[in-house]
């Protein structure tokens, strides 16, 4: 009996090995006349037609080459990508989040690209273009960006007697108090803001002239404990305590702010501009957006410029074709189509005047360090924010310890 099980197990192992071998052989055979593209599901649900148009254009120029688009999710696409780097069978084009790029560029995961091949490359959004550059070479082509804005309930603002949208953070706090006086239900937030939403919190730091870390001759120094950063963190703490009833330790997806909003538990929320499409039927008509004000009148709060780049992995055997596809997918026509879907196009020359584009005018980005992604995954910033809000540590103590942590992670070999 046991023997039979053993034989069966042995067979399973052999079959598994054989089938893996077969798959990789098959991938190699078909490689010559097809390219594989990994895009995020955002494209699948938001702008599949733009992808299809780019594919058509590409195939017209390269007859006989098919495009195999595979949709990935943000949560696990890097783990999958790592596996293909080790075992083969990976994509020819991959969409990368702009904060994910540096680590992979530094490890030599991508092939360098000729920038001049792509439309509008001299006017690429500076923040996004920087995320695709490493050691003077271009590895990532800006795909699209998104900024963070305030989504708010016009009816509640009116009810509370707010006639003009806030022009400074202080005015916004004053408005929050008015909103709170009119809406006394438990857990109601005038401005729903998750406790450890570092994208918003760092906006305050940059608004006060602070920063996260800075590099001087190859050595990173944490900057969160600088007086300006501490002023920003303190302003953020006061803003949170006055305006948000969210958990002080939760992130911006547990729960989703737009779900809280859709339940009528928030008068406004700070987040990506596409939040406006997720507020629920009941409040769609009464919802508007404005740019988050900064602490100085006339200046907006610097927003985190999220975005995506497209890159060609070194493991690709069709690098030229892959670059051609990227060219088609990021040309002026495709970018205008992406803009029509509510995204920020990849070049300043294409910008118009929508609320998310105005917000992008003043933006900040994470340090372009090889190990930045480890700071993010290690939740150093989130932990600092939770410590500040729960009062476990003072702003100064928490900032000091986070700053030291960040420096030691970024300075790893």
């Amino acid at each position: 009996m046991k023997r039979r099980v053993i034989v069966a197990l042995g067979l399973v192992v052999v079959l598994a090995v054989a089938s893996t071998a077969a798959t990789s052989a098959a991938t190699k055979r078909t490689a010559a006349n097809s390219i594989t593209v990994w895009l995020q599901t955002d494209a699948q649900s938001g702008w599949a037609d733009v992808v299809a148009a780019a594919n058509q254009q590409f195939q017209a120029a390269n007859p006989g080459t098919s495009v195999n688009v595979q949709y990935q999710s943000w949560g696990d696409h890097l783990q999958k990508f790592d596996a293909t780097l080790a075992g083969g069978g990976g994509p020819d084009v991959i969409e990368m989040g702009n904060t994910e790029m540096t680590k992979y560029m530094a490890a030599g995961a991508f092939a360098p690209l000729d920038k001049t091949q792509f439309d509008n490359s001299s006017n690429w959004l500076p923040g996004l273009a920087a995320s695709g550059k490493y050691g003077g070479k271009t590895y990532g082509v800006p795909y699209y960006a998104g900024s963070r804005v305030v989504t708010y309930r016009k009816d509640l603002f009116k009810q509370a007697g707010i006639t003009k949208l806030p022009a400074t953070t202080a005015q916004y706090v004053a408005d929050a108090k008015k909103l709170l006086a009119k809406n006394k239900q438990k857990g109601f937030s005038p401005v729903y803001l998750a406790g450890t939403d570092w994208y918003v919190a760092m906006g305050f730091v940059f608004d006060y002239g602070g920063s996260i870390a800075t590099q001087v001759s190859h050595k990173w120094t944490g900057m969160l404990d600088s007086p300006k950063s501490i002023a920003g963190l303190t302003a953020w703490k006061n803003f949170f305590l006055a305006a948000s009833r969210a958990s002080k330790t939760t992130d911006e997806t547990h729960p989703n702010p737009y779900d809280v909003y859709a339940q009528g538990q928030a008068a406004s929320m700070v987040g990506p501009s596409w939040f406006i499409g997720s507020v629920g039927k009941k409040y769609t008509a009464s919802t508007g957006q404005f740019v988050m004000p900064g602490h100085v009148k006339g200046q907006t709060m610097p927003g985190f410029l999220g975005g995506s780049d497209l890159a060609v992995p070194v493991t690709s055997s069709n690098k030229a074709l892959a670059a051609d596809w990227i060219k088609d997918f990021t040309d002026t026509q495709s970018e205008k189509a992406l803009q029509a879907k509510g995204n920020i196009p990849n070049a300043t020359s294409l910008l118009s005047n929508s609320v998310n584009e105005r917000a992008a005018a003043r933006s900040w980005f994470v340090p372009t360090a090889k190990h930045w992604v480890d700071v993010e995954n290690g939740n150093i910033l989130r932990n600092m924010l939770a410590q500040i809000l729960t009062g476990k540590l003072s702003v100064k103590q928490a900032a000091q310890s986070a700053s030291d942590n960040i420096a030691s992670v970024l300075n790893q070999p």
């Binding site: 790592d82 490890a107 958990s247 002080k248 995954n377 989130r382």
Partner: protein
């Protein structure tokens, strides 16, 4: 005269010797049979366990990050990965936290499991049926589902736990954040793990209790033994082998537990201050794509679990021998 008689004993000796030799070979062959029988198993185990383990050990002596992954070969660094881990204060804090966490979890599981098993013996058949079906239901609940249910129950805004505690006037638990401190986070994880581990322990111990001879207990009671005395001097010694196995298994499971803490606390709340060993391994090895260091942590974890189990097993065996 003597000369003539010598051949006989000589022949006899040769005869004896050859018979002895034959017996020796037969005995050797016979004793070799079991080894022969386990050869296939040993070979398969060596292949499916030993080979990866060999690679794990090899990987742990290499620098193997994203760069090396793309190049398909690491560079040997000797014991640098081990040195860096053993000099990492996060490792020692995590180890201490995990040992305490394991001790609390295993103790709670064993004590509560034994109490439930004793209860199962005492109650009437219908109640026992209801109780054991309940236990089996708990057992059959997938871990991920259980985590999600616990997460909802302890939700900050709409959790039923906060609602009930407030309604029962235990205190004002409105918008109470169960995930605000490491202690609170790990306590929730403990509740979840003990809850999930109880059925196996309780049902196994209940089966063990069936082995306690009724007449032995009665005899002791006739001799004037109190319930506690019966429990200490009859029940526990008979249950000892089962207790030993369950405790060892629980130590191994709870020391290396990953799913419950990682999912319940949530990735965005995991930081160096609330790591358990497996979470530390996952964060250092996979998230940071430092596979060599990850492999070294795995090897260290393996050694620690082995050491913990050996100490415990030896102590239990010694107690057994002494009695």
């Amino acid at each position: 005269m003597h000369g003539t008689s010598t051949p006989a004993p000589a022949a006899e000796t040769t005869f004896h010797r050859s018979r002895r030799r034959r017996r020796f070979w037969a005995r050797s062959a016979r004793s070799a049979v079991p080894y022969g029988l386990i050869v296939p198993v040993v070979v398969v185990i060596a292949l499916i366990l030993g080979y990866p383990l060999y690679w794990l050990a090899k990987l742990s002596t290499q620098r193997y990050g994203l760069f090396e992954l793309i190049q398909h070969h690491g560079s040997s660094v000797g014991f640098a990965n081990y040195r860096s881990i053993l000099h990492d204060s996060v490792f020692w804090h995590t180890l201490l936290r995990t040992v305490v966490f394991t001790a609390v979890n295993v103790t709670a599981t064993m004590v509560l499991g034994l109490l439930i098993a004793l209860l199962l013996v005492r109650v009437s058949t219908p109640v026992r049926l209801v109780l054991s079906s309940g236990l089996v239901l708990v057992w059959s609940m997938p871990v991920v589902v259980a985590v999600q249910v616990f997460y909802w129950m302890t939700n900050f805004q709409n959790g039923v736990v906060n609602y009930l505690l407030t309604q029962l006037h235990v205190g004002n638990f409105e918008q109470h954040d169960w995930y605000a401190s490491t202690f609170s986070q790990l306590s929730l994880v403990t509740v979840l793990i003990v809850w999930g581990a109880l059925p196996f322990v309780a049902i196994t111990l209940f089966a063990g209790l069936a082995q306690v001879p009724r007449d032995l207990v009665e005899a002791a009671e006739v001799d004037g033994a109190r319930p506690w005395g019966v429990f200490r001097d009859i029940t526990v010694p008979i249950l000892r082998p089962i207790l030993l196995i369950l405790t060892s298994l629980s130590i191994i499971w709870d020391f290396g537990v990953f799913t419950q803490p990682y999912l319940l606390i949530g990735q965005s709340k995991i930081h160096t201050g609330n790591y358990l060993m497996s979470v530390y391994l996952f964060e250092e090895g996979y998230f940071k794509a430092d596979f060599g260091r990850g492999a070294a942590i795995s090897i260290l974890m393996l050694l620690i679990v082995a050491a913990l189990s050996v100490v415990y097993v030896r102590r239990m065996v010694r107690i057994g021998v002494a009695q």
